[in-house]
Point group: C2
Chain length 249, copies 2
């Protein structure tokens, strides 16, 4: 048996999300089907982050096992060939240690959220960003973001469908940067709760609009009550950027 | 009569280009139709740059006249409403002087070209970038680009369909920058010949691949012969970024 590690990019539009589901095409299933087409083996693919419907990836990480060893470069080429025309690309394919696990070995995960802050509708970024027409104050958003960094009970920012044992997470980074009409929100943590990034981004947007203060965000966090959530940002702007593992430089 | 200046963003996919044609939808026609739907007036829209099929815009500029004066903010809102679902957005609408001309008043035009330099196929950037699998040497490309800057006869880099009176243009900027797998080529000039940016990018890519030297690019320029052109880059990666006018700060 040989274990392979994949680094993946995908456009989340048209997918029900990472995880295989009965109601439509998933990233996981597209990968498993492509692996079967070139290797003849039916395998299970495990991802570092189970992204939701419409959420994109720039550097998702996944692993799977093959009974017959293959050259990683063959895996790279064959998978990219058999994935077409799905908007999923294998950026890298490597042989991995048998104990490498895309989900459980990950020491950190990074997400990026893109807001286009303007009144005009989106064109080439449609489905790839959240258009917010109201003027956003990025300094206030950054101040509110700082209140969420650290180890907290994130119950307020957790989907009712979240399956994690504990609502406690350590948020290592939550930054807000503006580049013209575009705002980029970056989040890093060992792991996130279901909908945590989108829930945090939604509340930061309320702060940016002046409808909430940074204190309101902190009060919502401390309340540990999902009903206190101000706004869940749409999936469109969310990108899974990367997962970090122990052996990497 | 009131003249209006529009700043436009669009996704060039699905359009035959800026100019009205019989063989499919154009940006110009979509704008003229939208203006008629909200104003009842059939007008002609003039653009700063007549982008080709599949070429995008981040800041195209256009003008048109209305017999009945309207508030520019009404023009902004109504046009964005009536343009849907076309991937064309009005970023700004202003009243302009009667002698403002989007094409003839422009003192400068800027384009940006995006290359994704990797073996993996594109996902969310499909149609918005040129994927080049061979390793590109951006330093060699920048050196070659410098040979093209200045006032030259650009016959080699001009489409056979170019309608300009003279093949002489002054290229103010042609820069090459890498950001990870992405290369951004920026070009600025008072005006460009038809296919000039894509022709220059194609030759720079040949240099990046090591198939041409910067000297080869200069020799092709001096030859003033379209048959010397190495490669025309696809429309996908090309964005019309902005047009500059005399009265602007």
């Amino acid at each position: 048996m040989t274990r392979y590690k994949l680094t993946l990019e995908y456009d989340g539009r048209g997918f029900v999300g990472w995880q295989r589901q009965d109601n439509g095409p998933s990233i996981q299933q597209a990968l498993e089907d492509a692996i079967e087409r070139f290797s003849g083996e039916r395998v299970a693919v495990t991802g570092a982050g189970r992204t939701d419907a419409g959420v994109h990836a720039l550097g998702q990480v996944a692993h799977f096992d093959l009974a017959a060893a293959r050259d990683p470069d063959e895996v790279f080429g064959a998978l990219n060939h058999h994935l077409k025309p799905a908007a999923i690309a294998v950026l890298a394919a490597e042989a991995a240690d048998d104990d490498f696990h895309a989900r459980f070995s990950a020491l950190g995960r990074r997400y990026r959220y893109r807001i286009v802050n303007r009144r005009a509708p989106l064109t080439h970024e449609l489905g790839l960003a959240w258009q917010v027409p109201q003027a956003l104050d990025e300094a206030a958003m950054a101040e509110a973001a700082a209140r969420l960094v650290g180890r907290h009970d994130f119950t307020t920012f957790r989907s009712v469908h979240c399956q994690a044992d504990s609502p406690v997470r350590t948020l290592d980074l939550l930054s807000v940067e503006r580049d013209g009409a575009r705002l980029f929100i970056r989040a890093a943590a060992r792991s996130f709760l279901h909908h945590q990034v989108r829930s945090m981004v939604g509340c930061l947007a309320l702060v940016g609009m002046g409808r909430w203060t940074p204190d309101d965000v902190e009060a919502a966090l401390v309340a540990r009550d999902r009903a206190q959530l101000g706004l869940n940002a749409p999936s469109d702007g969310l990108f899974f950027v990367r997962a970090d593992y122990p052996d990497e430089g």
